[in-house]
């Protein structure tokens, strides 16, 4: 027995149960025993049947924030319109909203507040143990505390009296309580049903996903961490994969967000980097087929919040917030966000539009939310298109957003909306854009097949030191796109860039390749100029290849005289090595024609 536990027990002044020693009915597992053999769901089915009619306990629709210079202020903001409350207390862990109470810890005690009023219900010393999780059924509160490599469960009544204390050397997760039964995950794979008053294990289920949390959401209990398994009549089939289970689809996400923090992890009172990179989803209903509420799951990445379609993971919308999102939770019909400035916003699940706004009245350090019955109101409508939302999101120059913006750029490249083309052109042309985004924007731009107006407009600009135009447009990608679209209006503009020393060698190569397809007689002088100037002075393979492309265009546009020119260059030893064999190949492949050819169709 560890000394800290002795201290705790002594301070609590109660008799406790050492879990491994608990005996009882031989049909049930011994509490947290590891010699238990999977009973194919029999014991948990019995527990589920027993609790089926049990009262669900009080519901809560509340957001609680940690504030204050010393992180010692709790602010409660009811989502259903009640008055805000505050409570001053030192904090060493993130508060939790369970049923109708808020559980928090600090200054060597855990304490419970009434979720509606913020009044203290009780406080108990912890002996310095870390608060991991809590559950409440309206009568009893079960709190899990970390003790070395093991854990302690305290069962506390509304009067603050400890009804039962259970010690185990196992790592317990975040529990839920229904009808006097504690449902507590442990060892990442089990959920044990513990009689809150006797400490006996009534049943157990083995889950196929990692499980460290049991959460009551909207009238049902869900087990999970990477997925959500509902505690319903199918729970007995969990070990065979037959439980009511829902998970979000695998897809590329910004950063490495997690759906839930592990229930075995003590969360600090102040939000950290992991709180700025999260996933959120809400199970669809307490009964019936289990899905994701509103068909949406959400990801936050600093100031960006993404709404994804839940069946295939497609991006549905993106919201650019004014400051970093440090806490959030999925609610019915949307997602609730808290930011550093102390603002609360609810976004509509379908569109990402703001449907509710409120404020804590001061900057906050972290926030937790719980919404059992709250439902996001539909927004007024008339919001931005996805392409416009992405354009707004990627326009921010903050370096921290680059990873999230890269994901958006890849999404943007798949949209038919011409605004997508404009955004890609703007990003690729702006010298302030992060280099990684420029690379992505250029790659996406080359594959566009619409928005030629924006492309042509961009090509009308050249580097101009005196006019403060210090970046060239993305000539290469635009050249690729215009050539693929056979856009004749691109030819003169591309030809002018062919002779612009400010564009990259790669852009020259691609512009010349496009002109091999698009150029008309009008561009012939430019092509001749380029060909003559670089056939002997090309300093890179790209320019050498551009010379060959220019020759291809010249041969097409003026087969007779162009051929003489190219023949001479192919034989001339001063012509760069990379171009000569290509010129010879062109000559071999083209018969001398007498009539000028039209642009390729």
């Amino acid at each position: 027995m560890k000394s800290s536990f002795v201290l705790l027990a002594a301070s609590l002044g109660l008799a406790f149960t050492v879990a491994a020693c608990a005996g009882g009915d031989s049909t049930r597992p011994r509490t947290f025993s590891t010699d238990w053999l999977d009973d194919q769901g029999k014991s948990i089915a019995a527990v589920q049947a027993r609790l089926k009619g049990a009262p669900a306990g009080a519901t809560a629709d509340l957001v609680v924030a940690v504030a204050g210079e010393k992180n010692d202020k709790l602010i409660g903001a009811p989502l259903t319109g009640g008055a805000k409350w505050t409570f001053q207390h030192a904090l060493d862990a993130r508060p939790m909203i369970v049923g109708s109470v808020v559980i928090a810890s600090g200054a060597n005690e855990i304490f419970a507040l009434d979720a509606t009023t913020g009044k203290r219900l009780w406080a108990r010393p912890t002996g310095g143990l870390a608060l991991l999780g809590a559950g409440d059924d309206g009568t009893l509160t079960a709190v899990t505390l970390s003790r070395g490599t093991g854990s302690v469960i305290l069962v506390i009544g509304r009067d603050g009296a400890v009804k039962r204390e259970i010690e185990t050397d196992k790592q317990l997760g975040d529990p839920a309580v229904i009808g006097g039964v504690i449902l507590v995950p442990w060892a990442n794979q089990y959920v044990s049903a513990i009689d809150a008053l006797t400490g006996d294990e009534l049943g157990r289920v083995t889950l196929r996903d990692k499980v460290t949390r049991a959460d009551q959401i909207g009238g049902a209990v869900y087990f999970g961490e990477v997925a959500m398994v509902r505690f319903d009549e199918k729970i007995s089939m969990a070990s065979q994969g037959g439980a009511s289970r829902v998970a979000i689809p695998a897809r590329e996400l910004p950063g490495t967000p997690r759906l839930f923090a592990p229930g075995t992890e003590k969360l600090p009172p102040v939000a950290n980097a992991r709180d700025r990179d999260r996933l959120f989803a809400r199970p669809s209903a307490p009964t019936g087929p289990l899905g994701i509420d509103s068909g949406r799951f959400y990801a936050s990445y600093f100031r960006l919040v993404y709404g994804f379609e839940s069946s295939r993971g497609q991006l549905a919308w993106v919201h650019t917030h004014a400051s970093d999102v440090i806490g959030a939770d999925a609610v019915q019909g949307g997602v609730l966000l808290c930011d550093e400035e102390g603002k609360m916003v609810v976004l509509d699940a379908r569109t990402g539009q703001v449907s509710y706004e409120a404020s804590f009245g001061e900057p906050i350090k972290s926030c937790v939310a719980h919404a059992d019955t709250y439902k996001a109101l539909p927004p007024p409508g008339g919001g931005l298109s996805l392409a416009q939302q992405i354009a707004e999101a990627v326009s921010s120059r903050e370096a921290t957003l680059a990873t999230g913006q890269r994901l958006l750029l890849r999404e943007l490249g798949t949209l038919e909306d011409e605004v997508a083309t404009k955004t890609l052109v703007d990003l690729a042309s702006d010298p302030r854009t992060a280099p990684v985004l420029v690379t992505d924007a250029r790659a996406a731009l080359a594959t566009r097949r619409n928005g030629t107006t924006f492309m042509l407009s961009a090509l009308g600009k050249h580097y101009d030191f005196l006019r403060d135009v210090l970046a060239s447009p993305p000539v290469g990608p635009i050249a690729d796109a215009l050539a693929a679209m056979k856009e004749p209006k691109g030819a003169p503009l591309l030809a002018s860039h062919l002779l612009d020393p400010a564009i990259t060698d790669d852009d020259v190569r691609r512009a010349a390749a496009a002109l091999a397809i698009l150029a008309t007689k009008e561009e012939l002088p430019m092509l001749l100029h380029f060909f003559a100037m670089y056939r002997g002075t090309a300093e890179s393979d790209e320019i050498g290849l551009a010379v060959a492309s220019a020759a291809e265009a010249i041969l097409r546009l003026d087969p007779k005289e162009g051929r003489a020119l190219v023949e001479h260059a192919a034989k001339d030893p001063t012509t760069v090595a990379i171009a000569r064999p290509r010129l010879e190949a062109l000559l071999a492949a083209t018969a001398a024609a007498t009539k000028p050819a039209e642009p390729k169709k």
Binding site: L466, M526, L528, T537, L565
Partner: protein
Amino acid sequence: MRNFLRFAVTVAGIGIAFISSDAAGQKPAVKADKKKPATAAAPAPIDVKPIVAKLKTGDEAQIKEGLDEARLAGPPGAAAAPVVAEVLTRGLSLPLTQAAIETLGDLESDAGSAALSQYTSHRNAKVRRAAVKALTRTKGAPASAALKRSLSDADAVVRGTAASGLGALKAKDSVPELFIALDHRVNEAAVSIGQLCTGDQCEQLAGKLGKIPFDVVTGGLDQVLFRPAAEVSDDVKVKIVGRIREQGTIEGNKFLKDVQKRAGAAALSARVKQAIDQAVAATAGGVQ
């Protein structure tokens, strides 16, 4: 070969902005020489036939030899300029390209300006620098246009050389562009502005005192003060002296003293000299 030469001529005469139709490398160099002031004892033109023959061989070594000989000849070999321009326009290796550009500069014939203008847009900054530098010597309309365009070049040396060149070319219409260049820290523009400005423009240059480095502005104002009265009136010069005096700085005093020293030998009016003398005295105890 005939077709090829036709193409070379076409390239030389393409309608891009910086190439004028009357300077397509066809003007005889003697014509350019005739434009030189009669007071300058122009050396007699030399026979450039051997040089031209080498340039037309198409052989790299021969062309190099021809270019070297043309450079040694200098302006008296200006008759070779159209052929040098032609081979340059046709396309050469990088070393020969640079040699041809420098040769055209040394020949100082405006017959080379059109070809040189093309190379002010070459991707190699060294080539552009050489082309801009050569254009300041060959002059002609294409040179001015190309140098104006080169003020916007990405390379600072090209910009600076172009700015200086516009002054040397007496391209008065370039002054507004030179002011923009000066505001973009192309310091060489100040001297050219001083060489080219009208009265109002000269005062505009003086207005830059205190906004851009003193030495940069006075580099241009120095030019203004010593220009003939027919180009810049005494009123303007006195105003400029007054602007420097108003600065009340030691560097202003130092500059004015330097001007005062040279004023004696220059054809400055008594009024301007008096203004300078008074300004020197007034700024003697100037601030740092």
